[in-house]
Structure formats: structure tokens, C-alpha cells
């Protein structure tokens, strides 16, 4: 069965690096990455802010930030269509993220570029993106408030709904 993204293993590894690099760029520019839920939250993609060129979204919420990270690795890296929200990289939220991709059931199978979706049921209430592990624990970049994004362990809040893969 092909990967969600249709990429082969080497391509997936490259995509993951790009996704992680994008996610971490927000930490380096925390004061300029503002939180919003209005339409400007798609700033990163709609204004073609390419992480590899040192660009990052100036306005986003959790889902548009995670989607922007994946857009860097999938769309910009390999011209992959919108496997994250199914909306041609123009829109989406946790509800569409839950409808796309593939669930990872076991935490030990979680990899860089996977998403952690929080909430009690569909459509979810929050999402963060996995950037690696520390002491075996998946770590995420989470942009859920004006003070963010934050680098935290995936279970920094107790309502982990599911892990999801789009790469």
C-alpha cells in the first residue's frame, strides 16, 4: 500500500526534514508568529512563505501552522497535493485533518512530521506537529496561543485524540 503522500522512503525522509525545519523556524521567530483564527491564518501558504528561504507565517492558528509545515515538505518539496486537508492547500482545520491522512495507533510508531490532534472527539480542538523525540518521548511544536509556538512533549495536555500521518 503506498504511503499517504505517495512518496518513497527517501522522499519521505527528505519531506520530514523540511517539515521539521519549518516547524522549528517558528520557535526562532516566536515574536513574529502571531496567533489568529481569522482568514489571515493562511498567511504562510497564501503568501508563499518558504521555510527554506527563511520565511515563516506571521499569522496562523494551530491547524494552519501544522498545515504550513507539511506544505513545505510535501507541496514545495515534491508537488504533493493537499493530503492534509483535501482542500488544495487553501483551507482546513482539525476536522479536515482528521478526515485525511492515516492514523498512527501506537506512540512508538510516531515519526517526525506526524500530527497530534487533541480533543475528545471529531472534529478535535487542537493540533501540533511532531519534530522528533527526547528521552523517547515524541516532542511537538504547538501553536495554540499568541505566546506560541511552543516546543513541548506531545502529552503536554491530557486530551490526545489521535496521531495522524500525512507523509
Amino acid at each position: 500500500m503506498p504511503a499517504v503522500s505517495g512518496l518513497d522512503r527517501e522522499q519521505r525522509a527528505e519531506a520530514r526534514k523540511a517539515v521539521v525545519s519549518a516547524a522549528l523556524s517558528g520557535l526562532d521567530n516566536i515574536s513574529e508568529v502571531h496567533y489568529t483564527q481569522d482568514s489571515s491564518r493562511w498567511d504562510g501558504i497564501s503568501n508563499n512563505r518558504v521555510a527554506a528561504r527563511g520565511k515563516f507565517p506571521h499569522h496562523s492558528d494551530c491547524s494552519s501552522y501544522a498545515t504550513w509545515c507539511l506544505w513545505n515538505g510535501l507541496k514545495l518539496g515534491f508537488e504533493v497535493g493537499d493530503v492534509v486537508n483535501g482542500l488544495d492547500w487553501t483551507a482546513g482545520y482539525t476536522g479536515t485533518m482528521l478526515r485525511n491522512g492515516k492514523q498512527v495507533r501506537r506512540v512508538e510508531r510516531v515519526r517526525q512530521g506526524d500530527c497530534v490532534i487533541y480533543g475528545s472527539a471529531w472534529p478535535g480542538t487542537h493540533v501540533a506537529i511532531v519534530v522528533g523525540r527526547q528521552d523517547g518521548v515524541p516532542m511537538v511544536v504547538s501553536h495554540g496561543s499568541e505566546q506560541g509556538p511552543f516546543f513541548v512533549r506531545y502529552d503536554y495536555r491530557p486530551d490526545v485524540l489521535e496521531f495522524r500521518r500525512y507523509i
Binding site: M1, P2, A3, R9, R12, A13, R16, V20, L24, Y35, Q37, D38, S39, R41, D61, C62, S63, S64, N85, L87, A91, G92, Y93, T94, G95, T96, L98, R99, K102, Q103, V104, R105, R106, R109, R111, Q112, Y118, W122, P123, G124, T125, H126, V127, V131, G132, R133, Q134, M139, S142, G144, S145, Q147, G148, F150, F151, V152, R153, Y156, R157, R165
Partner: protein, 46 residues
């Protein structure tokens, strides 16, 4: 929701399992210091 299938059962992803980078030199935030997440814009159109 369509019937779900899982990464865990997909042999395509088994070869990715050694690709699991450990992050060093990056200090994690104390979860207690993270303000409550404000939620997600909740419609498909925005």
C-alpha cells in the same frame, strides 16, 4: 468518516521506523508554563 486503516498495519511504513531523529540541544517548555490553547478555527472554509 471512512473506514480507517492504520499506519501501524501498513508495511510501506515499516522501513521508516529507523528514521526517528532525536532532538538535542533544544529545551522543552514546561507544560505548566504553556498557556491554554485557544482552539482551532472550526470550519472548513477558513
Amino acid at each position: 468518516m471512512p473506514e480507517e486503516d492504520y499506519v501501524d498495519d501498513d508495511p510501506e511504513y515499516e522501513e521508516d521506523d529507523d528514521d526517528n531523529s532525536v532532538l538535542v540541544g533544544l529545551a522543552a517548555a514546561d507544560p505548566r508554563s504553556v498557556p491554554p490553547d485557544e482552539g482551532d478555527a472550526g470550519t472548513e472554509g477558513n
